[in-house]
Symmetry: C2
Subunit: 263 residues, 2 copies
DNA sequence: CGCTTAATTGAGGAGTATCAAGGCCAGTGG
DNA sequence: CCACTGGCCTTGATACTCCTCAATTAAGCG
């Protein structure tokens, strides 16, 4: 089953991807971003590494984490196609955290200098870049609330619904997917122990809310999950406009008006 | 210290402003940001309010919080002089959270449009703005770790040490200060109940680590606090270069190295 | 096909939350 | 000036969630 879903990953649909009309796309300096492949288990970058580029996931899933002073790992996020990685290095020029691939992955490489140029010279680029950062801030704050104020079952429900939404956005089934991360990763991300994660998944399985077998998950009762999550259904997180399109080209102002980029 | 290491430009780098040769100073428009006073208990902005300006605290302390779907308040941060507020509105154009003054406060008002102009036309402004956002991201991630993986006493210790550091930075005593927020605010921020906060403060008091009477706090045993926090002493958070100086002028300065002077 | 890692499940306990009662303090009005 | 009042803080008793430890089973991987 894992094999079959890997096949599905071969060509990730990117949301909001329009057929590249020449009007929308002005070829930025090099026509395409370079790419980088990371095999499962390999690191995209390590802690303390110098910051120089941003990454945009093209294929695969990666986990970001930080290692605290006591040597423990703490997952801060899972990134899928379209997500930007590496923002944590902007502040100091060094990555405080690390990123490893949970599955064979491929990322676009965006030299930060180029992002800065783009952002400096194109109003649209500027806005887009700002929005990427700003969205990350909002996402973090929501996560803080989850970690600080929610019960274990709420966190699990939110986690599953979030995955569902994101998969759905990428064109996959919102109700059936394969977890690429371990229970420990999930627990670390949610501020729980792996046994707790396992127990709660089992409980949801018994309740008929979901179906679990190993890493394969099926969401059976969405209303129940929403109820558990404690979130009102309209609190769906706003989607961020992707920063690069399917071919690794920087997205240039689709908006009418003067969003045009120069180089 | 940081202020002195920065040259300042009276007022906004203007459109057309070239990658500022740091020394040529052209004061183009009104010399200072506008200000706004907020009395204790009043809101700087409310949830859902349209985003249009950023604020930089000049005097006082404010608390930022979000109200979750179930109506509960969750404090996401306390802001003191030099801190930037309002970043949460950039992503969507609406503030998802609220901010109220815990004490009579005064803030500088930075119209976002002006920040964008500054950022678009001045390389330094751009870098500074990016760094402000990026630092907020890093801060959030550290907070996530605290909320997800640390025990109550660790959180309290870190909270106190953080306050100490910040007060110290502003020229106040690092070992003696007055908490402007309630136990409930602290608890909400740290993911604890107010009774737990109270109990732990009392315990630290009994241990001789700190001295508490109501909102007055004295830190007596820093090594013990560091030990409790579980943080290595060199993991002090990098300081962000302030975006405006004491007079409300946008800081225009070449940086020596990066903004994170450690140790 | 054995080996290693991941996941499940149980029992017991630590750590916080919850509920409840009383005390402290600052602001308010007599 | 003092009593009043309401919010804030402290402290105790108890409940409950989640963690810890441990044993077993299942699943990847060479």
């Amino acid at each position: 089953m894992i094999a079959s879903s890997s096949l599905r990953l071969a060509y990730p649909p990117i949301p909001g991807d329009q057929p590249a009309s020449p009007l929308n796309v002005v070829p930025p300096v090099p026509p395409k971003c370079s790419r980088r492949c990371i095999r499962r288990g390999e690191a995209l970058y390590g802690a303390g590494e110098a910051f120089g580029v941003l990454y945009v996931v093209r294929i695969g899933i990666l986990k970001s984490f930080m290692v605290s002073d006591d040597g423990l790992m703490h997952v801060t996020g899972f990134s899928m196609a379209g997500d930007v990685i590496g923002l944590d290095g902007i502040a100091t020029g060094q990555h405080p955290g690390e990123v490893v691939a949970l599955d064979d992955a491929e990322v676009f490489v965006l030299p930060w200098a180029r992002c800065e140029q783009w952002s400096l010279h194109s109003e649209h680029g500027h806005r887009l870049m700002m929005r990427v950062l700003a969205h990350e801030i909002v996402r973090s704050k929501e996560l803080m609330i989850m970690l600080g104020a929610m019960h274990a079952d709420q966190r699990i429900a939110i986690f599953l619904l979030d995955l569902s939404r994101r998969y759905s956005h990428l064109g996959y089934s919102p109700s059936q997917f394969v977890l690429r991360m371990t229970r420990q990763d999930i627990g670390s991300y949610l501020g729980l122990k792996l046994e707790t994660v396992s127990r709660l998944l089992s409980r949801l399985h018994r309740d008929g809310t979901i179906q679990v077998r190993g890493k394969s998950i099926a969401l059976l009762d969405f209303p129940a999950l929403w109820r558990l999550s404690g979130l009102s259904s309209d609190s769906r997180r706003p989607t961020v406009t992707p920063i690069v399109d399917r071919d690794g080209e920087l997205v240039v102002a689709p908006e009418a008006g003067n969003g045009g980029a120069r180089r």
